[in-house]
């Protein structure tokens, strides 16, 4: 399991490529990957920037707890979670969840579970900057299902 926070832009596909090197090649029958990026609109308003606040220490612990609970529930060969913090530009990657398993159901279900729990439990908060320069805190996530 790897959990990491990035304070600058990161390439999620390069992270996946690197992480996959440590998964046994002949056993990794399935990989499931989710990449979330910043849009330049939210609730019909243009957004030019985003600040992602977190709780240093607790954020990492919560992500590790969520992944550990998924590893106890599904037979995973590996899991990599990366999340952006600080100032973000439209198009930048915000979150990466990648899971590997021998079979598709475990990889896919674990990836989905980790992402949804991350969004509802891990201490991150988004503050948007709009085109007129005003800022607003995002009050809630979009529904996952």
């Amino acid at each position: 399991m790897t959990v990491e926070l990035h304070s600058g832009d990161f390439d999620p596909w390069e992270v996946v490529r690197q992480a996959e090197q440590s998964i046994p090649a002949n056993a990794r029958g399935a990989a499931s990957v989710f990449v979330g990026r910043m849009r330049d609109f939210n609730e019909d308003v243009d957004v030019t920037g985003l600040f992602l606040e977190h709780y240093p220490g607790m954020t990492e612990r919560e992500l590790e707890r969520i992944v550990a609970e998924a590893e106890a529930r599904w037979p995973l060969l590996g899991c990599h979670v990366a999340h952006r913090v600080g100032d973000v530009r439209p198009g930048d990657a915000l979150v990466l969840v990648a899971t590997w398993s021998a079979h598709r159901v475990a990889a896919r279900d674990a990836c989905s579970d980790i992402l949804e729990r991350l969004k509802h439990e891990a201490p991150f908060w988004k503050r948007e900057t709009l085109t007129d320069g005003t800022q607003r805190w995002v009050e809630k996530n979009t529904p996952g299902f």
């Binding site: 606040e53 977190h54 709780y55 201490p123 809630k140």
Partner: protein, 77 residues
């Protein structure tokens, strides 16, 4: 007892400070009771909290030396 209090996101901005060191006469407070003591009003709706960096509720007890954080609903991912 002494408690280390942190505020995050919109709450931090509205209160105008990232946290405070709270000196308390009582040693049997809860997370909700600590908020009442510090702000002289009931905790706001949908307030989330953590004690020593673990998820907590308004009923979670607070002890001397604890780190207590208050924050709005999370919006990561």
């Amino acid at each position: 007892m002494t408690v280390h209090v942190h505020y995050f996101a919109r709450l931090r901005e509205e209160l105008g400070r990232p946290g405070e060191e709270a000196e308390l006469p009582a040693d049997d407070l809860t997370v909700g009771g600590l908020w009442q003591h510090l702000h002289h009003e009931a905790p706001p709706a949908r307030l989330m909290a953590a004690v020593n960096q673990e998820q907590a509720t308004l009923e979670t007890p607070v002890h001397d030396g604890d780190e207590v954080a208050y924050f709005p609903p999370v919006t990561g991912g």
